[in-house]
Amino acid sequence: MTSPYIAVNGVTFRYGPEQTILDNITLNIEKGEFVSVIGPSGCGKSTLLRLLAGLIKPVAGSVTVSSQPVTGPGLDRAVVFQDYSLFPWMTCQENIVLALERAGLGKTKTERREIALGFLSLVGLALDGNKLPGELSGGMRQRTAIARALAINAPTLLMDEPFGALDEITRARQQDLLLELWQGGQGEKEAGKTVFFVTHDVEEAIILGDRVIVMGSQPGRVVKDLAVTLPRPRTRMTSIQHKNFPSLRDYLLTELNLVVDERLAPPIEAGAAI
């Protein structure tokens, strides 16, 4: 009776009595799985992530992580938001040091500063620790946020369109970096990190994920749950060039189109009736 690592059971979320954002979502994620979530804007994929993070509470249903019900935010789940989750008044290093302090890692301030620097070098920012987030490019800020998420060594990573605001080349590089870091961690004695990765980019979802979950909107629900049959370890290039990639992409695009069409349908009918 091994229960799934992350279990979302019949979760419903709404603002007020009318606006149902998520309707009866059930979703199981195994430990060490990398799950991509795609869907049209407004389908509640970010809301689902916020439920997992414990930032909001479901109206009905339950969320458990590692058999523990989620009652609020916790340092066992590191969150990376789209608009860089760093405090602008602290340097990159201070941002990570604060997170380490909260996670109870590192005995002294000096030790925490060293750990922080180590993770900054891991994402190629060894020389930028003393800079403020505002002095960095969007890509560098996002790498800092990822470094912080990795530094606190949370078993679960929740990423909400972390590369959504980046230009294409920067985004491609970040995807490779994330793949490298995550796959690198999988070999270690403790099973790798479980990642819940929200994106609106179909290719990104395939390149990164073991599974792609397609969500539909109004109300938000799970429409498809597709296993990504690409070998690991991957890079962005090996994924895109794999013979299965085009069919996976086309399949997901078709699914997404269906979801969007369905959403557009009612107003068109109403228009025809006039």
Partner: protein
Amino acid sequence: MSSSDDKSRLFGLFSSLFIILFLFGVYGLITDVLRIPNAVLFPGWGKIIPAFGVSIQQLLNGLASSLGLLVPAVVSSVLVGVTAGIFIGLRPKVEAVLLPFIRAVNPLPSTMLIPYAIAVMPTFWLSSFIIIFIGVLWPVLVNTLHGVAMLEPRWIDNAKCLNLTGRRLVFKVVLPGAMPQIFAGINAGLIRSFLLLTVAEMIGAKAGLGFFVQYYADFAKYDRVIAGMIWLSLVVVVIMTLVDLVKSRVLYWTKKR
């Protein structure tokens, strides 16, 4: 800092100096040279500058006396205002209850309190202290509340994800995040404080810059009155510049966003 920054700052400084010299010259021309306005109400530099010389000891004493009142009153008011603002701002229910009162009291001129303060408080110093304290408190409090309300939701989410609570939440997130608004409040409060300081001193003091101006106005010694006003403006400029320096130190991050 780039050299173009330095250049534009130098240019600004020279422009300000030029305007000051120009105004100085124009005033000198119409008073000392052309003798157009009433010579008692508008003495020329030929009278004002010696008045400075004669009064310099009094002006310095007055400055010491005024600062001895202004600094404790403003500092304690800012501390109380910011603390209360953060305490109330973080408790939406308390804020909802108090906000109508805060809004109602904020625009009332604290000069109205002068007769009460003088009647109730045992000494002049205490009554002036209370008037300045209250006058500064409201803009600081209101702006701090505003600053807390305007904290970006992503900072709050971020703080929640890091389990930041209590003192840490206040000092690592709420206070720095609300700092731009808090400084707006401090600036507004400071301007009020100069006004209240001089008004209070004119009414009941035996020393201070406002007292100096009022005292010589009573004897129609307008050369000294104008010397005192120029001195007072200089002091205000220096204090505001110092506050600006502190502000740019504390808010270094807002320029780099």
